[in-house]
Symmetry: C2
Subunit: 564 residues, 2 copies
């Protein structure tokens, strides 16, 4: 192997300050990000400008995506943008009998490099991805259906932040135990017993990262980088409709690994042929010792039950609730909720679904508001937010797949429609399916309605559930989190007692709670280094992004001791 | 509830320095223990003397062990000492439909107490146990069959050390995230987005600790204290033959919890009626969210497969190997190995079973030694060590159950016996079954022999396996660890290349390695705060004592954020 172009010294000089700041921030949980959110921040210092990013993306279309990984036995791919166009990209299809052994070959050297070098190589990968954020933004937009600005931010800097956060946790966890230790045990008048001990973090094996359709990078990077930074090889299995953002990621990772003197096969891509279902095949291979998965509850549960040889980290589905009890900023509450329901057409695992509103109404600084008034005012707020088609397109993006459209259309039959969904034309992409959210009134006490609001209805569908009281809302919240899980809980109240009561439910049921958000922070958004995404303690997910538990079991520590 | 006698201030004054030293030592991994190993160190400052400890133990015999826990629906117990006498103790039998809900009642207050208070309460529990080490020593001796000194040390200070180590890890993990954080995100010329965030470690639920027969306290304390310190209630289900040490532990824990103002039902005991099999019933109860288990591979695998609602930490069986390649201290090697094979009649999960010796022999500072010579010299070393009956009794203890005796007797038929097992009379306890180890010669290349050495033969049975070469030994070591697991690996070599090769096998297969031990440290012994017990990365155990992974998933962090 040629001498490494990226030496450890150079990596440390460039990236150690970033790693240190990340390590500091996961302790303070203050605001920080090294990855600019604004598109205009790019185009200098080697990063792609908006125009260059678009050109880079377009150059990928209608061609083969070359990756020099072993075991390529054909080409496959059929991504079609939720905005209409087919991407026309073919990816290498891997013979896993060749690829998996090749991925193991470089693991000893990757282990011997140690935690710091692994972390710095990961930071370099993220830095190169960051420099191409404009290119990634188009790739995310045209696979997830996110609007451009969201694809740019959530698919770019926010995803990179989550990746860096995982690298920081992985590094911190590995260096908690020293590399070496002397041990001297007194023996009274005799000589002490003395040992020299060496501690080495060792990988579990090959990690499998199973990507999702809606947030291929944001949900994919934490597992990918946590596994790589802890010494594992990582096989990336993208969702068949969202391959490109992860294929680009794998390409960058392989480039950096090779330049740093490591085997590029430590990161590889496994794209499936239509209907091949390789996730199931890969998940139970003995070489696969870690799995990260974001997607349906059914497959997440299957992985947890069947991939017994692996550590399995899942983010599945939940039913997110907002309890509306009272507010001293009625307009702020409505506009905050309206935005949360609208962003990316409600296709976030964190989007609120059930709004629990007392049927007697709520108190506000504008006086009491009846249940019907609250629902009507919220509907008006959503309609106002999305009244302008350009703004609607920029917020909603496109429906990611036809199932979402089917669910949306069926939702109108579940109850009284307070706000009908509206079709929005997208002048740039006439084939995009763009819809505003529907708000359906349900009665918390009716069994038929319960069947609706106690199921996840993924997409732009919200239920305004009339409940007998706030106490009733809290019991329903508790039952929903316990039985269905939740990625987020929101609550609005001016009562200290109610606040304490909703906090108690969330503490007891392990749900992340946002209280009285009326400004520019939304219940469905979390910030890396500060907010936890999911709790790992309710059925929506068995892990949180990102904490010690997310990284600590991706490696083991081998001790070698000898007489001093 | 009455005002707490043990205030937080008093606990902090007494125990915070101990906690701080434990936190420091898990970072440096130097030698440290706050729990004296020598029996004569006890008897002052409130701790029981040898005589008082024995009297306390004897006062427990032939009576009911009262515990004021809810749901007692009868009495059960039938412990018989491996040294002969029946203990005659009856324990409360619990109606779990009453006990489990009662255990949950105090969890909110235990959560609200926070990580530091929980840790200090745990340290107080350990301190009170430490003061009664002489009493515990007899309880451990007469349930495990360990000789008195081993029961005293391993069942007393060493177990307490492992408990304290778990408390330190649990505390450190919970305080990695601050209780509160301010978050301010710049918005260019607009006001920053500002949030106030609170982070609370929350329990998973009720933890079930399933104790083992051989090391009820040493193997039980890490899980018990890790779960309790992270906010969980803990239900202790002892092995039916080793109830007393854990019943005493539960009693002390309940006393301390009550004195500190917490619900004593946070720790409770579940003793089973003969043949009741309550571990299986409890393990799949929805209230049980954490399980710690030490015991057979079969039941450990069953727990991992079936207790899907819980985090399951298992230490199962493995096949421990020592590779004998060469040495520059032949006598030291032999005496070190002889001690390891003899201690507690080889009834440790860390006792070496397979000694891999090249059939061409080894090199030593005394010149070359043939395979036959090495086996004969080792046999002589064991025979010498155990030649004196008093010393033999002090080292061997008693066989813990009749199955061990059956296996020992059957082992002689597996191959040529290099050292026959010898029956040792115990004048103090004539009914004790005391046996010296058998050493059986096997041929690594013979399939019949392979069936023997590739299975765990728990008890005082070792196989001197002739292999073609050291390289052959390393391949067999690799295969053994991969297929059967290992708690320990030992190796003797004067070759740097061989040392590196055996290290590589252990790094790749996640096994803990002791190199060239010829003095007073033995491959089957690990020290808390410094040595890892098991790796959690091979089939012998899915967790290590103690590391971040052992504690990080016993709690979750709930974030509550609100606009600042």
């Amino acid at each position: 192997m040629a001498a490494a172009q990226l030496t450890t010294d150079r990596l440390a000089e460039t990236h150690r300050p970033t790693l240190d700041q990340a390590l500091e921030t996961i302790r303070t949980r203050a605001y920080w990000s090294p990855h600019p959110e604004h598109p205009k921040a790019y185009g200098e210092n080697g990063s792609l400008s908006a125009a260059d990013g678009l050109a880079a993306y377009e150059s990928l279309l209608n061609s083969r995506f070359e990756l020099d990984q072993p075991g390529t036995d054909g080409w496959t791919g059929g991504e079609v943008s939720p905005y209409g166009p087919a991407l026309g990209i073919e990816y290498p299809h891997a013979d896993i009998e060749v690829l998996l052994p090749a991925m193991r070959a470089g693991m000893a050297a990757w282990r011997d490099a140690g935690p710091e070098t692994r972390a710095l190589v990961c930071v370099e990968i993220l830095a190169r991805i960051s420099a191409r954020t404009h290119e990634f933004a188009h790739a995310v937009m045209h696979t997830s259906g996110q609007a451009f600005m969201m694809a740019f931010q959530a698919g770019g800097p926010h995803a990179q932040d989550r990746g860096l956060e995982a690298v920081a946790y992985a590094y911190a966890e590995q260096v908690r135990t020293p590399q070496d230790a002397g041990w001297s045990k007194p023996q009274g008048k005799r000589d002490p017993l003395e040992l020299q001990k060496a501690f080495t973090p060792v990988a579990r094996g090959i990690a499998l990262m199973i990507g999702c359709n809606t947030f291929p990078t944001w949900n994919g990077y934490p597992g990918l980088f946590a596994s790589l930074a802890t010494g594992n090889a990582v096989l990336v299995k993208p969702h068949p409709r969202a391959v490109l953002p992860l294929a680009l990621t794998v390409r960058v990772a392989r480039e950096v690994l090779a330049e740093a003197g490591f085997d590029p096969n430590l990161v590889a891509l496994a794209v499936e042929r239509p209907g091949e279902g390789i996730a199931k095949t890969l998940a139970v291979r003995p070489e696969i010792r870690i799995i990260d998965y974001t997607g349906s509850t059914a497959f997440g549960d299957w992985l947890e039950a069947n991939a017994r040889q692996a550590q399995v980290y899942t983010e599945k589905a939940g039913v997110n609730t907002v309890v509306v009890d009272s507010t001293d900023d009625y307009k702020g509450m409505l506009s905050n909720l309206a935005f949360s329901l609208s962003l990316y057409s409600g296709q976030m695992c964190t989007t609120p679904q059930n709004l629990l509103i007392p049927r007697e109404g709520i108190t506000t600084e504008q006086g009491p508001k009846s249940y019907d008034e609250v629902v009507a005012d919220l509907s008006a707020s959503v309609a106002g937010l999305l009244g302008d088609d350009a703004r609607a397109n920029a917020l909603l993006g496109a429906l990611v797949n036809p199932d979402v459209k089917t669910r949306l259309e069926a939702a109108a039959a579940l109850g009284e429609v307070a706000l009908p969904s509206r079709e929005v034309a997208n002048p740039e992409f006439p084939d995009a399916v763009v819809r505003t959210p529907v708000i359906v009134k349900l009665d918390g006490a009716k069994p038929d309605d319960e069947a609706a609001y106690m199921s996840e209805c993924f997409g732009p569908v919200s239920f305004a559930v009339a409940v007998d009281s706030t106490a009733d809302a809290l019991e329903l919240l508790r039952r929903t989190v316990r039985e269905k899980g939740a990625m987020t809980v929101g609550a609005y109240t001016t009562s200290a007692d109610t606040e304490r009561a909703v906090e108690e439910v969330c503490l007891e049921e392990s749900a992340q709670l946002s209280l009285n958000l009326t400004g520019g922070v939304y219940v469905n958004q979390t910030a890396a280094f500060s907010d936890f995404h999911g709790s790992g303690g309710n059925p929506a997910a068995n892990a949180a992004l990102c904490d010690g538990a997310f990284v600590a079991n991706r490696f083991r520590v081998v001790e070698i001791r000898r007489q001093a």
